[in-house]
Symmetry: C2
Subunit: 394 residues, 2 copies
């Protein structure tokens, strides 16, 4: 049985008392200094630890690559006040030290090439409002995003798909925007399913303003999440960075409607780089709100889906088709093998080039991972490509 | 300038007087004997000539493989009467000896593996009504097929796409059925574009009966075509065989709407085996009449398209994007190289496995053809796959 309860929220792992507090304050301080993804800072923390990294930033004892990103706000040390403020408003900060930190979900972000895209970094912390554990709530999750200018058709399809996924234990992740985002959250709330809203501003700021009531409802039963500290207003580049967290927190990204210049395409890009399936719902070719979906399908960026069953086929965990007591290979894999395995759909086959595109890994790494997975008996290969082998034979 | 006129119809190539007549009677006799594709008979004709093949059938001087298919009707020799009857009704028979025989179009059918599918054979003759040359009318053609139970949406999209292709010199090929077929023919007639109806019965039989007037209109300005001799009624298996001719006569097959068990999928199968692009128009996922299109797109059997421009991108001749005086590589290629070249889209790249699927050729043949095309400077290769190189550089 899976627990969806609020477990050990706020407690630290492996750090007790003062040390835990010191680390938490360091995370919070750095979160306010950089406000968003900063691969150079993540690398420094990885190397010297968060407390030492915070000291280095505070004293400007930094390599050139970190002077710029920290310059503007390194003098602002309001970590204690930030912590008090978020706790006072019923929220909390979740750091990589916390048991509810969705470490597995964030793995992919840390493995992307940050030289190619400086936005490809694990968030330092996540500011959270809501009663659920972020870890368990995101255990089986679908991101549902799309056009702000949605149509009745798109909203209806969103409600139907979310309504079909909800009783099967899926969490719906979205961005709380007008249109499809809002429809997805509302459908999840209506179905009693957990829903996670990832914001591009502080979790204390209702954005868009007219969604204040929707966000309050989500915070009551689901989760409102942001990497931006309380009080931060939404800037344009925040939305692009936010989209990577939406993609990371889910097993796949579904776009229901999208215009030609929709931000949903950016979320899909993150999904693909993270090795998550990108899915899109088609619509009438006469509808401007489906043009973006059609382009993504046509150009091979997203797979066409129309029903919950097809979504589960693409994004669902392998164990759904297995006996309840069968081992789930994903859980025991890590690194490139986990990414490549995740990129192979439950049904059908993929060639290494496609797996490279899906997983974001270079072709030689994909081939190496396939060989290892083959030896482990988890995948097989025929003329149509590589496919998953269910435990006990295909 | 391309001629769309009625050129040399009825005249024979390279056979004069009595010999031409003898051959024509032999083709017509055999057409009535086998009524539909018969790869074994095509092979015999290839080996011994049509006149000798007709003698062998008439006298039952045959290998076992041909006794069955010819048994029922080899005693019926009404070739002269058939010829008189079709000419009397203003039609004609087009044989591979005739200048208007679309030899290039039929090439692919003759190259398919008839052991795998006995239906994969070039039609012996085509019975034709209408003022156009079959060769020139099918020079630049799109097959538009789909659900008999079409919706207003599907009919509107059909009319729009056909209306956009018509002024660009495209012929519309379809099967004269209810629904999308009828809408496609009507839109072509309305736009003054040539349209070809390929029937599963004799060209003197209006099928479906309530399309008698539509077929009469098509026969006035376009072409009504069948491989079945006059008087033949439509049988179920005729429709599947007919679909291969629809696919063969066109540069690509477009499915506008299709239910889950639509015959359009069979036409798409033929298109793929012939190396022609298979295209499908999406629609609302709530529409039963789009389910088949969505499945074909989802499973990679067809490419999603929504507008005439996208169709031309996939099915259009290369020269559209080149200066008018540029050479057209397709015209100078043949065999596997032509099939592989045709399988590479005008924009974007394909990997050999995909080209194998598209062209119906085994992987080693695809690789050999790519090497030859590369040497000829017609294709290039990068990490995304093989792409076309326009003369004078990409």
């Amino acid at each position: 049985m899976r627990s969806r309860g609020h477990e050990n929220v706020g407690a630290s792992v492996g750090f007790a008392g003062d040390e835990a507090d010191e680390r938490r304050l360091a995370w919070v301080y750095l979160s306010r200094v950089v406000q968003g993804p900063c691969a150079a800072l993540s690398a420094l923390i990885e190397r010297v630890g968060v407390v030492e990294a915070a000291r280095a930033v505070r004293e400007c004892d930094l390599p050139d690559s970190l002077r710029g990103p920290t310059e503007q706000r390194r003098g602002i040390d309001c970590a204690e006040r930030d912590l008090e403020s978020i706790l006072g408003s019923g929220g909390r900060v979740v750091t990589p030290d916390d048991p509810e930190w969705p470490a597995w979900r964030m793995l992919g972000l840390g493995q992307l090439d940050s030289a190619r895209d400086p936005g490809a970094a694990v968030p330092l912390v996540l500011w959270v409002r809501g009663p659920r554990s972020l870890l368990t709530a995101s255990e089986q999750a679908l991101a549902v995003v799309g056009a702000r200018c949605s149509t009745g058709y798109g909203e209806r399809v969103t409600a139907e798909i979310v309504g079909d996924l909800a009783p099967r234990g899926w969490t719906i992740v979205s961005g709380a925007a007008f249109g499809i985002d809002g429809a997805a959250h509302r459908a999840a709330l209506a179905a009693g399913a957990p829903t996670i809203a990832v914001l591009a501003c502080g979790v204390d700021r209702p954005y868009p303003a007219s969604h204040a009531r929707l966000l309050a409802e989500i915070a009551e039963t689901g989760l409102v999440v942001s990497e931006y500290p309380p009080g931060t207003t939404a800037h344009k580049h925040h939305f692009l960075a936010r989209n990577r967290i939406i993609a990371a927190l889910a097993d796949g990204v579904l776009v229901v409607e999208a215009g030609l210049r929709s931000g949903a395409r950016n979320t899909v890009k993150w999904a693909r780089r993270l090795g998550r399936p990108a899915l899109a719902v088609p619509g009438p070719v006469t509808s401007a709100s489906s043009v973006g979906c059609h382009r993504m399908i046509r150009e091979g960026e997203a797979v066409l889906v129309g029903r919950a069953e097809e979504i589960i086929d693409e994004a669902g965990p392998l164990q759904l088709s297995l006996p309840a007591d069968a081992p789930t290979p994903e859980r025991s894999l890590d690194g490139d093998e986990a990414l490549v395995y995740a990129a192979i759909p439950r049904t059908g086959a993929r060639i290494p080039l496609e797996l490279s595109g899906e997983s974001g890994l270079p072709l030689p790494s994909v081939r190496a991972a396939l060989a290892a997975l083959d030896l482990a008996g988890l995948v097989g290969c025929d003329e149509s490509g590589w496919f998953r082998v269910a435990p006990g034979g295909r």
